[in-house]
Amino acid sequence: MIPGVSIEEKTDPLQGQILEVSMGPHHPSTHGVFRMDVKLDGERIVSLKPVFGYLHRNHEKIAEDVSYLGSIPYTDRLDYLCSLTNNWAYCLAVEKLSGFEIPERAEYIRVIVGELTRLVNHTCLMGFFVQDLGAMGTPLMYAFREREKILDLFEGLTGARMMCNYMRFGGVRCDLPVGWIDEVKKVIAAFPRFLDEFESLLTQNEILIARAQGVGVLSKELAINAGITGPCLRASGVGHDLRKVDAYSIYSRFDFKVPIGAHGDCYDRFMIRLLEMRESLKILDQAIAALPSGQIIDPKAKSRGLRPKAGEAYGRIEAPKGELGFYLISEGGPSPYRYRVRPPSLINLTVLEDMCLGGTVADAIATLGSIDIVLGEVDR
């Protein structure tokens, strides 16, 4: 006990009882099997403990058992909304480990599918977020309508809509089908219309503003200290984007900007994603225009029976949700000695309590929605 400081039990006669509510694991707006142990004073949150692990699938241990190639389909299932960026981050780590060269065309294809994935993720997230605010699913349906078009593109390219399993060490699995680029162009051309409509439906809506502005504020300092990444960090006013910082792949060739917010509240996180989509569209336009022909995979690279030389590597990309990293240690065997994922959702989730304290249950739901978590990635 610190001398001079006396801790006094304050008992307020008007103070009511604390109500404990266990929200989840099956609750309509916990985005999967996630639980929040919430203590409520009236409707104000006095304590919130996130409880997760209901969806734990032993991903990292399995990956240490199967071949390097065999882990790629498992990475699809981490953040199941954006499998392509998961593939990409993992391939980047393996490529670093084994020193493969990625052909020019493959890099462009990766950027194109990566940015399309960002569009998919952000449309979904915005829909879910507004759904959590109680909007009867209308924005969600509009978001899904657009997402569907991009998923069609993925199906045409990779054979699957969500579990794409497309990237390979040193390149990509297969070349673009005939006419695919034209379809992409069509989708991209129609996309701004959707964004405009979405903005006019929501961004000036008084109810959304009342519900999202000043709610779930994440300060710049806390965001940096807690290792928050992605749109959540940028909404708090830190201009940190790995596409600029690392300039991995060929992102240095594209002209795009990184939007940053000033308040770090739910509304900023929402708007930052909207603005990011517009930037993604710019990148897509440039990448499609400059798409070269050539090989799609490093001829030296081999997928099957890959045994990288002993060493370690950390590959990270700016996934739609934040910094997605894969850390691999190889002992020269057919499977990694250590395999570790840095999931952006999980780390962004750690500040949930700080953002929710003092707010109401409704605020907590909105904040959780604005963080953008996918339980597949949080629990792994």
């Binding site: 509510v21 707006s29 109680g134 009867m136 000043g214 900007k257 940053i260 930052i272």
Partner: protein, 390 residues
Amino acid sequence: MTLVERIDQAPLLLQRWAVSFFPALLQPWVAMLISAAAIIGVFASLFALSTLAERKGLGRIQNRPGPNRVGPFGMLQPLADGIKMLIKEDIVPLRADKVLHFLAPIALIVPSLLVYSVLPIGRNLIAMQCQLGVLLFFAIGASTELSIFMAGWGSHNKYSLLGSIRAIAQMISYELPMVLAAVTVILATSSLDTVNIVEAQAGGFWAWHAFTPWGAIALLTFFICALAESNRAPFDLPEAESELIAGHLTEYSGFKYALFFMAEYLGMMAISGMAITLFLGGWQAPLPILNFIPSWMWFFGKLACFVVLFIWIRGTLPRLRADQLMNLAWKFLLPIALLNIGLAGLWVKSSGWIAWPISVILLGLAIVGLGRLLRGSRPRGGKRIYRYAD
């Protein structure tokens, strides 16, 4: 009686015809029973229709076709829903208060139906003409809060309890501005009788109360309160799915749930009916030329417009937070409604065009000022400028 009048009065004539078969002693009772049966029959089928309209409308709003499998264009969907609800297992939680859990839906549906007795559906078509019709409407409406409390408390579920507490707080808060909005009409017509109120608005749409400055504001206030009273989006906090699962409905299933559902829609239509009666001329045609269309068709037409508006709003708006809801009621609607009563008094006393500019200026100032208060320190329209990192 001309043919037009006959069609207009058809329900009444039918009732008289049916009653004439009974001995004189029983006739008032039979007439009453027939009125009640007609109300239950008509509005229950309207409930079915409006659920279908809601599902179809929401579907279209969300770019999907809505129910289209049962019957032609999905028209029989309400029937299928009804059968499903009837044959579903009725689950009562183990530790629930069985009696309250059972009584709550019944205690809710009775007042929801009772309020229709004072709504004039057409010329001479009213189940119970009562000197105090408007007061009766609100008095009976006030008792629905208890049944929601019974449902929430009887379910023995924290979400239910939270939901019902929210519901009651919300309904009590919004009842106040709603009644005050109705008071303006009572002031103008100096009558609490719904029939008199409708008759005071005869002549054409310019005679409707909605087309006076105080009437327009009162209608708007009344409508916002109606949304809240019937627990519809954006004020559907008591059953906020994303927060409280389904609020006081969480532990209900099967037919009891259907009763709650029905009560919600009946309440919505009753309040719309009251809004029509008070502000939109009730069963009066908007133009005297259109009087050949039966009066009850005008009433139901206006009711349909209201239902569509309800659905449209539900499909568009996110939900408010509980404290914001209270702020809206107490800091915005209540002062406006109070000011509005004063303006209605001015209108009645001056009975001329001088009240127009005064009302418009005062109301405009109040709305802008209170709106700013509600917005707090936020910039206009919540607009924010976003920077880009270098």
